[in-house]
């Protein structure tokens, strides 16, 4: 597509897509259409011959031959029609994909100002919904007019051949239609144009509302939003009705004109036949050919509508995106430049779209490796300057030079290969930690080597993200297949931990011991002493498992557990019955607030019933479920006696035997020498429960585990697993601090020569902030030019130079020492005056 490449997609005409890249398919279409036309005319001739020759002369052989030919033609015509539609669909879908690709490629490169003006929803609507109509037109653009026109001409020719006079008169309605229909279609087009614009606004508004859904909930602004939608919904409704009225107007008018045809044929043809001037067979053929004119004509009119809708939609969509990207995405004919770290700003001014001057006459010059802090009151233009330096804002006047090159002439990729930007509110994409970490490097493709796991780990350490990633790894459920390689190592760590540190951490880890009752596991988990491999053996579903009920009954435990359920229900209703359904009250309860009313009713029924009358099956199961949830370490209202603990332990052993015999593979029993499938890796190492403990002790335990993982050479593997953790949409599963650390790490990974930090550490705690600051000073000073927008003055001391900004200007610049001695703006900002 060299031709198409040179013209930007938004400038291309709709017609240019018809042949571009579709030539072989359109050629194939032509061949099929030729065959199709022949197969449609042939039956007409057969009809005439059947009536005139076979029936007229009473020749059965001829009848069979003509009917056979007729059948063959009809079958072939259907096959051809199907083939045409398949090829049309292929072309339409190929075109849709190519339009989307080209439009997205264009849209991604548009300047940020475009996205500030147009909400993301309208962009989404344009790419996702609106392109389908024009691409359908492209699919049908050759075949539909050609096949139908040819069919029309063939039929018309045949009619003329049969009887010129009759043909001319019966065809006279078509030119009439061609005058009236476009008038109606023009009305439809106007409505469609409005519809496209309104749909875009509507989609934009919806996307905006849902992006800010927390604000809507926070202010309970449901009514306000509804009202904002109401107007658009109403306008869209009206315009769609108008559009529909015109469209159906076109169809109905067309129907009317085409049904006038037979009327004329009957009147005139009947008269001619009665007078003997027309054979009856010819009249039959004429009538059926006349009727057959209707289909191709209808399709032509429909195609005309598709063309008009497609044209309008396409033009509207392309006009919307017709904004020029200010700089090229990549240099066309060379690899990205390798710049040195010099940075120079000459007389830079920046104006907003509304003409507000945010930066005025900024002058700066930094040597490679020099570190500059930008400070000042909010609104002084610090962030704007930072974004100008990163080429995200187009400057109004003045120039910025990176490594001696004017950035207005550098492509985006030249900038990205040399400059790293960490913004105040970094954006993380749905995907794994690793995807997000490597994002900046992958963007450079061949221009930068892909970082190794060692590089990644080094950066994780530097940014203080290592512990977070490790924690993610330790919390990942162990998949026996995917994580098979680390299984044996984990068991070794487990053994060592128990042997060496078991006694020391006895308070924070409750080790799994087949002969001991687990205080921090539920009764169900205590009975199973393993991980369910089948859903019906999940602890929460045991009460609904008939096999299990039977087992508990055999053990003589069913009745007792139900009684425990009654007691728990009674206590919980007694204590929490009148409290609101808040987490703080129900955190230590085996019952959820939603379940409480049901249990209250059950207790009420039990109280009224005589003691001999047992609870219903449904009640029994609910009470059993409650009892099976009971966990001594969490629920403090009951104390399990020694005798009952003993009974439950015996049942555990019996259950194991019974399961092995009757339900093998239902439960993977806890085995000190095997992994716990689908349990967190940390639990696999500790082989036990972790009851709540003071943070200090937990930290100590975690450090011990890490030490052991290092000894057994497993740490990297766990960090690798942690890197596969999903950060969620917008990185929602990470804290604000973790998001910032990740944003810094992903930029450091590409080792830029120039680093722009726009309040990049604002969400970090003091310790993490100090760590990043220390990293900048020790590892990056002299190696990487840094421009940092900083809010907190206590971290700017060690910057080579500090520029104080006020109302869009740099009012003073110098080292901390110099500026403090000068007692100017920084001195004032630091609150010394």
């Amino acid at each position: 597509m060299p031709h198409a490449r040179r013209i930007p997609v938004v400038k291309r005409s709709l017609g240019s897509w018809i042949l571009d890249g579709n030539l072989p398919w359109q050629g194939l279409l032509l061949a099929v259409i030729g065959l199709f036309i022949a197969t449609r005319v042939l039956p007409l001739e057969m009809q005439k011959r059947i009536v005139n020759e076979a029936i007229g002369r009473r020749e059965v052989d001829l009848l069979l031959v003509y009917c056979g030919t007729y059948l063959a033609a009809v079958v072939l015509a259907s096959a051809c029609k199907y083939g045409i539609q398949v090829i049309e669909t292929l072309i339409a879908q190929r075109t849709l994909a190519r339009m989307r690709r080209a439009l997205l490629e264009h849209a991604l490169r548009l300047p940020l100002s475009f996205f500030r003006e147009n909400p993301p929803g309208s962009v989404v609507n344009a790419v996702v919904n609106e392109l389908a109509v024009p691409s359908n037109f492209v699919g049908a653009a050759v075949s539909t007019p050609l096949s139908n026109l040819l069919t029309l001409l063939a039929f018309a020719g045949y009619l003329l051949w049969l009887n010129p006079l009759l043909a001319v008169i019966s065809l006279a309605t078509y030119p009439l239609a061609m005058i009236v229909l476009p008038l109606l279609q023009r009305g439809a087009n106007r409505a469609n144009q409005k519809r496209v614009d309104l749909s875009r606004t509507f989609a934009g508004r919806i996307a905006e509302a849902f992006t800010g859904i927390h604000e809507i909930h926070g202010h309970a602004a449901f009514g306000v939003e509804q009202k904002r939608f109401e107007d658009l919904i109403e306008r869209l409704r009206k315009v769609r009705i108008v559009w529909g009225l015109f469209r159906y107007g076109v169809k109905s008018a067309n129907n009317f004109f085409t049904s006038l045809g037979p009327f004329v044929v009957f009147l005139l043809g009947g008269w001619l036949t009665i007078r003997g001037q027309l054979e009856l067979g010819a009249l039959v053929a004429f009538l059926s050919a006349q009727e057959k004119l209707y289909d191709p004509w209808k399709e032509l009119i429909e195609f005309y509508q598709v063309y008009q809708d497609g044209k309008v939609t396409y033009r509207r969509t392309m006009e919307f995106f017709d904004v020029e990207a200010p700089v090229a995405a990549a240099p066309p004919d060379r690899p990205p430049l390798q710049l040195d770290g010099r940075l120079e700003v000459r007389h830079l001014d920046f104006l907003t779209e509304t003409g507000l001057r945010l930066l005025q006459d900024i002058r700066l010059s930094l040597r490679p490796g020099e570190h500059l802090a930008l400070v000042g009151f909010s609104g002084s233009g610090k962030s704007t300057l930072a974004l100008c330096l990163a080429q995200l804002h187009a400057v109004a006047e003045g120039r910025i030079f990176l490594g001696g090159h004017d950035i207005a002439r550098l492509s985006k990729r030249d900038i990205a290969a040399n400059l790293g930007l960490v913004s105040q509110h970094p954006f993380l994409f749905e995907g794994t930690l690793r995807d997000n970490l490597l994002y900046a490097c992958e963007a450079l493709e061949a221009a930068a080597p892909r970082p190794s796991l060692d590089d990644v780990i080094a950066v994780l350490h530097q940014t203080g993200l290592f512990a977070d990633v490790l924690q993610f790894g330790l919390n990942t459920p162990l998949d026996p297949r995917r994580h098979a390689a680390i299984g044996p190592g984990l068991i070794r760590v487990r053994r060592k931990f128990q042997e060496k540190y078991g006694a020391r951490f006895a308070e924070v880890v409750e080790f799994f011991d087949a002969s001991a009752y687990l205080e921090h596991s539920s009764i169900a988990e205590n009975l199973l002493f393993g991980t369910a491999q089948r859903p019906e053996f999940e602890p929460a579903r045991l009460a609904a498992n008939d096999w299990m009920l039977d087992f508990l009954n055999r053990e003589g435990l069913l009745h007792r557990l139900v009684n425990i359920g009654i007691r728990l229900a009674r206590q919980t209703v007694d204590i929490l019955g009148n409290l609101p359904a808040e987490r703080v009250f129900f955190a230590q309860s085996p019952m959820s607030p939603e379940e409480l009313p049901r249990f209250r009713r059950t207790l009420e029924r039990l109280r009224r019933r005589s003691p001999e009358e047992p609870p219903s099956r449904e009640e029994t199961l609910a009470l059993l479920e409650l009892a099976l949830r009971f966990t001594p370490g969490v629920h403090k209202t009951l104390e399990l006696g020694e005798e009952l603990r003993g009974r439950l332990l015996t049942a555990r052993a019996n259950l194991r035997r019974a399961l092995a015999a009757e339900q093998p593979q239902a439960v993977a029993f806890h085995d000190a020498e095997a992994v716990l499938p689908f349990q967190p890796i940390l639990k696999n190492i500790l082989f036990g429960n972790t009851p709540p403990a003071p943070p200090k002790v937990q930290e100590e335990m975690l450090q011990t585990v890490i030490q052991l993982l290092i000894e057994k050479d497993l740490l990297e593997a766990i960090v690798g697993i942690g890197l596969e953790a999903n950060v969620g949409s917008h990185g929602e599963k990470l804290s604000g601090g973790q998001q910032q650390k990740l944003a810094i790490a992903r930029v450091l990974l590409k080792s830029p020569r120039i680093l722009i930090l726009d309040e990049a550490t604002s969400a970090l705690d003091n310790r993490s902030q100090a760590r990043i600051q220390n990293l900048l000073e020790t590892r990056w000073k002299g190696r990487c030019t840094v421009v940092a927008v900083v809010h907190r003055l206590d971290i700017v001391r060690h910057y080579d130079r500090i520029a104080v900004m006020k109302a869009g200007k740099i009012v003073e610049i110098g080292s901390w020492q110099e500026l403090m001695e000068r007692k100017g703006a920084l001195y004032e900002l630091a609150g010394k005056r």
Partner: protein, 176 residues
């Protein structure tokens, strides 16, 4: 509880919750509360074990928990300029920090476990949440608090006035 021992399905002794309830009923600070609310406090509180030397809270720390000692021994200290000075010891049955259930404030003392100690701990957040459910009890609670401050000063005046000397002008916390 209300079920007789004969159909006790658990076969255990009294539960932690029942013990907590018993402890609360012995504490003056809670004397004004009806059983219904004491049950909720007993339910929301937790039992914590402290190792010898472990701090329950430290001087200067913002903290809001009350402690009822169940077993063990605690040392209350205050540090001004020199080494920390021991103020007194607490043992089983003592209750510390009722005022901090009313607001989170800066600790003027440090409390440290002398030996392995078990306490019933109630924190301010849970207490406040529960108190919201029993608003009628708030005046009674304030009365109890004020009375105990007055009683404290009265005892002080009776026992310590002569030894007090220079601190006489600072007396009068009950006049706040």
């Amino acid at each position: 509880m209300n079920s007789p021992a004969s159909d006790d399905p658990v076969g255990g002794e009294s539960s932690e919750y029942e013990e907590n309830l018993e402890i609360l009923r012995q504490i003056d600070f809670f004397s004004g509360f009806p059983l219904e609310s004491l049950k909720v406090f007993a339910y929301l509180g937790s039992r914590r074990r402290f190792r010898a030397g472990e701090f329950l809270f430290e001087q200067g720390e913002e903290d809001a928990s009350a402690f009822a000692v169940i077993g063990g021994r605690l040392r209350l200290e205050r540090q001004s300029d020199g080494p920390p000075q021991t103020i007194r010891f607490y043992g089983p049955g003592d209750f510390i920090g009722g005022l901090s259930l009313l607001c989170e404030c800066r600790r003027l003392y440090s409390l440290r476990a002398e030996e392995r100690t078990v306490c019933f701990v109630l924190d301010q957040e849970k207490f406040a949440k529960a108190l919201e459910q029993f608003p009628a009890q708030i005046p009674r609670l304030l009365q109890t608090v004020v009375q105990s401050i007055i009683r404290w000063e009265e005892d002080f005046l009776t026992e310590m006035t002569e030894a007090c000397g220079r601190c006489l002008p600072r007396l009068g916390v009950s006049l706040l």
